[in-house]
């Protein structure tokens, strides 16, 4: 992450964690703990993304396993996990992304429009050549990995490149570009 873009993002990892904790607590009644070192999100995974545009160009994303998404939906709908459909999962996790995104937007301190959430299934992580950990949401400016029960969620604030191209990581990426995959 370039220094110039990082300096332009007035939201810290601590801020992301605090927002996520408040949302998980109030919406799901669940605690959320930081995890270091950050484990990978297990496959199959999904991502819920809300875009930010205007005074800040970027996005807020939640990445978690599909099973964790179903558990979240189960809590929100008051149904058993076995009754939860993909649509229910997308609805529930999308709404969490909406709430997290709205609160992160408030911390940015500049006017920006928040998009409707988009929820996609992510293709499995494949071992192989290193790939840039960059999706259509833009490079990650801030990211935290947190756990709830046996589940893991990666919360990230993406900032679209303003002057510098995104850095290429030298470790296998946590996933390919965010995009539709098999459900």
């Amino acid at each position: 992450m370039s220094g110039s873009v990082s300096a332009a993002v007035p939201v810290s990892e601590g801020d992301l964690a605090a927002v996520a904790r408040a949302v998980w607590d109030a919406t799901l009644g669940l605690g959320l703990d930081g995890i270091e070192p950050a484990p990978p999100v297990p496959d199959p995974r999904l991502a819920a993304v809300v875009s930010l545009s205007g005074g800040f160009e970027g996005a807020v994303s939640l990445e978690l396993s599909t099973a964790a998404g179903r558990e979240i939906a189960s809590l929100m709908f008051g149904l058993g996990v076995e009754e939860i459909s993909w649509e229910d999962t997308a609805d529930a996790v999308g709404e969490l992304a909406n709430i997290v995104g709205g609160n992160v937007k408030a911390l940015l301190g500049r006017p920006a429009a928040l998009s409707l959430p988009s929820v996609v299934a992510l293709p499995p992580v494949t071992p192989g050549p290193c790939r840039p950990a960059v999706g259509r949401a833009g490079p990650v400016a801030r990211g935290v990995t947190m756990g709830f029960g046996r589940n893991v969620v990666r919360i990230a604030l993406h900032a679209s490149a303003t002057a510098d191209p995104p850095a290429v990581t030298d470790v296998p990426a946590a996933g390919r570009e965010i995009g539709k995959g098999d459900r």
């Binding site: 109030a26 919406t27 008051g78 609805d91 709205g102 937007k105 408030a106 006017p111 928040l114 409707l116």
Partner: protein, 123 residues
Amino acid sequence: MRILVVDDSRAMRLIIRRQLRRAGLGEHTVTEAADGAEALAAVLADRPTLVLSDWNMPAPDGLQLLTELRRRGINVPFGFITSEGTPEMRRRAEEAGAAFVVAKPFGADDLRAAIEEVTVPRV
């Protein structure tokens, strides 16, 4: 009281219902609309006494819904329940005629306090 809950997320509509019950408002009639167009039709048909609406929805969004209601002379008490809780959004909500903005995430107490501001007569 007849409360209309407007949100494009079915999960959030359920959460709002749950929080209304926890706030001691469960005895009131609660209906739902999944978008602004459905909400407008519901207000015209059922004349709810309170509208609780999300802001960020496919067009017409919550602000457009409120604006249209006021344009039609429908002054039903209207509150936003939204992730858009910045001062700028609150100002826009108030200017459009909203009685309150409850920012997500919210608890039952937040909801009750906001609704009581609108519905409990002041001596």
